[in-house]
Symmetry: C3
Subunit: 277 residues, 3 copies
Amino acid sequence: MKNLNLAEMLDNVRARTPLVHNITNYVTVNDCANILLACGGSPIMSDDAGDVEDITSICGGLNINIGTLNARTIPAMYLAGKRANELEHPVLLDPVGAGASRLRTETAAGLLDALKLSVIRGNISEIKALAQGSATTKGVDADEADQLNAANQDSVIAFAKGLAEKTGAVIAITGATDVITDGERVCLIRNGHPMMSRITGTGCMLSAMTTAYVVANPERPFEAVCAAVCAMGLCGEIAHARLSAADGNSSYRNYIIDAVYNLTGAQLEEGAKYECL
Amino acid sequence: MKNLNLAEMLDNVRARTPLVHNITNYVTVNDCANILLACGGSPIMSDDAGDVEDITSICGGLNINIGTLNARTIPAMYLAGKRANELEHPVLLDPVGAGASRLRTETAAGLLDALKLSVIRGNISEIKALAQGSATTKGVDADEADQLNAANQDSVIAFAKGLAEKTGAVIAITGATDVITDGERVCLIRNGHPMMSRITGTGCMLSAMTTAYVVANPERPFEAVCAAVCAMGLCGEIAHARLSAADGNSSYRNYIIDAVYNLTGAQLEEGAKYECL
Amino acid sequence: MKNLNLAEMLDNVRARTPLVHNITNYVTVNDCANILLACGGSPIMSDDAGDVEDITSICGGLNINIGTLNARTIPAMYLAGKRANELEHPVLLDPVGAGASRLRTETAAGLLDALKLSVIRGNISEIKALAQGSATTKGVDADEADQLNAANQDSVIAFAKGLAEKTGAVIAITGATDVITDGERVCLIRNGHPMMSRITGTGCMLSAMTTAYVVANPERPFEAVCAAVCAMGLCGEIAHARLSAADGNSSYRNYIIDAVYNLTGAQLEEGAKYECL
């Protein structure tokens, strides 16, 4: 059953040029900025406690990514998040590496406690760590034991719905199959290509782009998240089809951003592989 | 009237390999380093208060970009700037986002007060905020209301000349039409392509490259700035002509740096679109 | 005499997916992450004192690069290095810019004193500065006066062997000809292309990849380092052959990472140009 207005979500991003404040890691920050521009948004990066409140005030939404969190930027995440909450701007949390260190797990959990989040996006290991305050994760990738499969699909969906209900956020657990839920509706998405895991930052880029989609579609955050996740996966497929024999992960990264730049609403509707439960 | 020796400016960069110290943002720092190498310069990045004085001492010039300024790096900007001034090295200031937050506006204005600047490069909103201590800017892009047009061209030029006279710096206000002035001479440049605004960092890259041009042409900073601005815009045009249907902003970024790498003095003279008033 | 099992070294990286903790500079960090993924490893970046001990504990090895060292990250380098030593994880030091500033020279020397290093990789000027506590280096590139040539080859080799004996680390002095030694064995490598010096971060990328090779081949660090250095140089050659007339250093960077992604053990054995003394 295809009943989401994905094209409209995408078109609204292009029409409204949402300005997104990013507090993100320095590994993939350039790709995040370029994918925001590619999808039709506008990025601004600012992570100093003395700067973030002013910056988030002029933006439409906030993307918090803890990938290279540190003692200087963690307070800025709280300050920016609180100001964004006051202004009723959407806030997305990407708990990169939650479960891999105490600082990451505690910071992610602390932000979840302190802030009203609109979206939480991560892999299954990170989201579990965030929800449970502990996990055993292998670095910043999801553990194999955590991956969604036929055996655990029902329990993963129940877990995601519970977290959505508890937090009020749209939960996006991404992997080979993505699970998106706002606590009531559930969407499973099967776009993407395995080679996307061989590029650094596909998750970070998706979080940045998802924030733009949610800002541009304020009445429909669930559909907006689904659209962004489908778009990223579909662009991974389009970019993969473009690879020559000599191309590898660096060209693939460029082609994915290029594909986002060129993606139309019609293409998105045509190529999206999702199932609403 | 084409009376600037652009080719000579470019050739001097390639011949002299100017070493440029950059205190810049982490969003576009990699592109800044690669464009410095592409144009014939050599980059070094250092932003710690304990490191910058030594580093700037072995360089030929300093590029200060406040794009992701923070409590740790702001003091380093002052220290490096003062040392560079003592050594009579050219210093360029790129006031990214001045007007978008108090910290950015005050830091940019503070650096302008404390340092002898050779070049100030930014969009019109940033330069106005820098000069006036306030502005209403939409993030890091220029406001539409500020864009140069037939109606405001004379007042923008007068503003730029006044700032150049007051500061002693070459002022480069970049946009669809760029205004360059040293207070006496004025050059309008019309190279470039609108798609350049869909890449993060074209401004930052231009600032880095401009610093290299000014270091390599110490007797003629005005011409050096004009040459760098023409070169960047022209490379935006060359790169745009190279785009395939599947290419987007990520490939475009690569092609622009590639074009800078391959640009010759003859190409620059041929393709530059400028007018000296 | 070709007697190193380079293919086996490479295959072990692909088979074992070594997780590498990087404390590195923000200039080239994205390229370091992508080349780690390209070669078959898995990257994680973390540089906060409160985070690095947990992170390095779940990794297989640690890559310390001082390219944009600062007051916040230097203590994290020591903490991570000590924990990695306790866990007997390989630690690589890349003393970027040692000799160019007191902070860099002292930090590199301090890390060398405090830590048991498995590999030290840098250009000749950096390694001399590290060993001697002083040097005159031009930024982050090797001085011409220091470059390996027929006249100084014996003395450079003797110097490298001495440093290897003193530190217990494999020493990798890279340049047009690379010198690798563990104090007993010496390997000279002549892969690569001069254009690699026109890209920022080829050294940083090599250090990251070398760490992955050493982690995946714990019994044979010397061969692992030789294999990584040959692989990087060979990929520089493969990528150069792919350049079109319009390509420059930005595409070259992408092609090098792509070549690492596609490199096979057979290709490496075939293309490696080394000599064991």
